[in-house]
């Protein structure tokens, strides 16, 4: 099977493509994002632009990627357990209207994300996850 990741994995690594460079950049972007309040135009534009840039990098062959596993063993089924627990609670609370008695995950996260430091930390986790996905 022709797979673009194999081509990309052979690409030479760039000087800036190291954690000592990328992590501070992601941290800076996270600190900026953490200052932007929810529901603001700036927050919308910033999130959409950052996500769009990551999408552009991830769908192209501009960066080298780690080769994906050819198959997953039966042990992968263990991941279904926590994912199913999360899905059941998220689905149930969503269907119940995401009220204070039955809050969805994002409703629980909202008050925490009002704090700028926690918001920046959340941004950092989101961007780092995005970057990890780009490289896989």
């Amino acid at each position: 099977m022709e797979h673009p990741t194999e081509l990309a994995a052979d690409a030479p690594s760039r000087a800036w493509d190291r954690p000592v460079v990328t992590l501070p950049v992601l941290a800076f972007l996270s600190l900026v994002g953490g200052q932007l309040p929810s529901f603001s135009t700036r927050a919308n534009v910033y999130t959409i632009c950052l996500g769009g840039a990551m999408l552009w990098l991830g769908l192209g062959n501009r960066l080298p990627r780690r080769p994906p596993p050819t198959r997953l063993g039966p042990g992968a089924a263990w991941w279904l357990l926590p994912v199913a627990v999360f899905g059941i609670f998220e689905g149930a609370t969503f269907l119940l209207g995401s009220t204070p008695e039955y809050p969805t995950f994002s409703k629980l996260a909202d008050p925490l994300l009002e704090d700028r430091l926690l918001r920046s930390a959340g941004y950092f986790a989101w961007l780092t996850g995005f970057w990890v996905l780009v490289r896989r």
Binding site: L36, I48, L50, L55, P69, W79, V83, R119, W126, L133
Partner: protein, 72 residues
């Protein structure tokens, strides 16, 4: 805090802790459990024809998640 809210929070925490436990088990030497990164990479490799459906789905979901948490 109501009992239902406490149960919901406990459920989400159990799922998060469960993910951390499975990841820790996966990172042991000679583990048969793949890491979360390997599972994601495998699913992202799914293609329909030449369309990388898995990558588009993962990136789209992650993009939406960030927008949902930080912008909406």
């Amino acid at each position: 805090m109501s009992v239902s809210r406490t149960i919901v929070i406990a459920g989400f925490l159990a799922a998060i802790v469960g993910c951390a436990v499975v990841e820790a088990l996966a990172r042991r030497k000679d583990s048969r459990i793949p890491t979360l990164g390997d599972v994601c990479a495998y699913v992202m490799g799914y293609e329909v024809g030449r369309v990388p459906v898995g990558r588009i789905g993962f990136f789209g979901f992650w993009w939406w998640l960030g927008w949902h948490l930080f912008a909406r």
